[in-house]
Symmetry: C2
Subunit: 124 residues, 2 copies
C-alpha cells in the first residue's frame, strides 16, 4: 500500500515535536498546568500549589512542558512566570483534525458506494 | 485560585485513560498505525510492513495501542486484524476542544474589557 508508506514518511518528518508534545500531555499534572495557563500566565508557585508535590518534582514537570514547546517561562526578580505557547498546542490539535478528516472521507466513500449499489439494484 | 483546584480534581478523575492515550500517541510508529487504521482495518503483517522493525518490536507498539483503547485486534485463523476504536481517539480530541474553549472565552473577556474601557474613555 503506497499510501501507507507515504503516511509513515510524512509522520517521521514532523514527529520529533509531536513526540515531545504528546509525551508532555501524558501526565495529569502537566495537563492541569496547561489547562490553568489557558486562562493566563501564572507563577511557578501558583501553579505548584494544588499538587502537594515538592518543588523539585514540580519543576521537572515544568521542564518537560517547556522543552516540548507547550509553555515558556521567564524569571523576573525572584519570580518565574509561565505562559502557554498556544501555537504548539495547535500543532497537536491538527494531528487529530487530520485523522478525523481521513475517517470522514472514508465514510463518505462508503456512502457513495452504497448509493451506487442501490442505483444498480433498482436498474436490474 | 479555587478554579484551578477544581481543574486539578477533574483532570485526576478521567486522567488514567488520557495518560494512556497520549502516551500511545507519543511515538511516530504508533501514530502511523492510527493514521493507517483510519482508512479501514488491517492485518498486523500489513501494518508492520513499512517500518523495518522486527515483529516482536512492532507487536510491542500494537500492545501499547491496544491497552490505551485506541485500537482493538482480533485473530481469525492465523491472521490478527486491527481496527481503530474511534471513540477513544475522540476522548483525547475533546481535551483539546476544552482547552480551546477556555482560551477563546479568555479572549472574549479581554475584548469585553477593552470595549468597556473604551466606553468609559469616551464618557470622560
Amino acid at each position: 500500500m503506497a499510501n501507507y508508506f507515504d503516511i509513515v514518511r510524512h509522520v517521521e518528518n514532523y514527529s520529533a515535536s509531536l513526540n515531545d508534545i504528546f509525551h508532555a500531555l501524558a501526565d495529569p499534572t502537566r495537563r492541569s498546568v496547561i489547562a490553568r495557563l489557558g486562562s493566563g500566565a501564572a507563577s511557578i508557585k501558583e501553579l505548584a500549589e494544588p499538587f502537594g508535590l515538592g518543588l523539585p518534582s514540580f519543576l521537572k514537570h515544568i521542564k518537560v512542558l517547556e522543552s516540548s514547546g507547550l509553555i515558556a517561562s521567564e524569571k523576573v526578580g525572584r519570580v518565574r512566570t509561565c505562559k502557554l505557547r498556544r501555537g504548539n498546542l495547535t500543532a497537536a490539535e491538527k494531528w487529530f483534525d487530520k485523522q478525523r478528516a481521513a475517517w470522514e472521507s472514508r465514510y463518505k466513500n462508503l456512502d457513495n458506494l452504497l448509493t451506487t449499489l442501490k442505483g444498480e439494484e433498482s436498474e436490474s
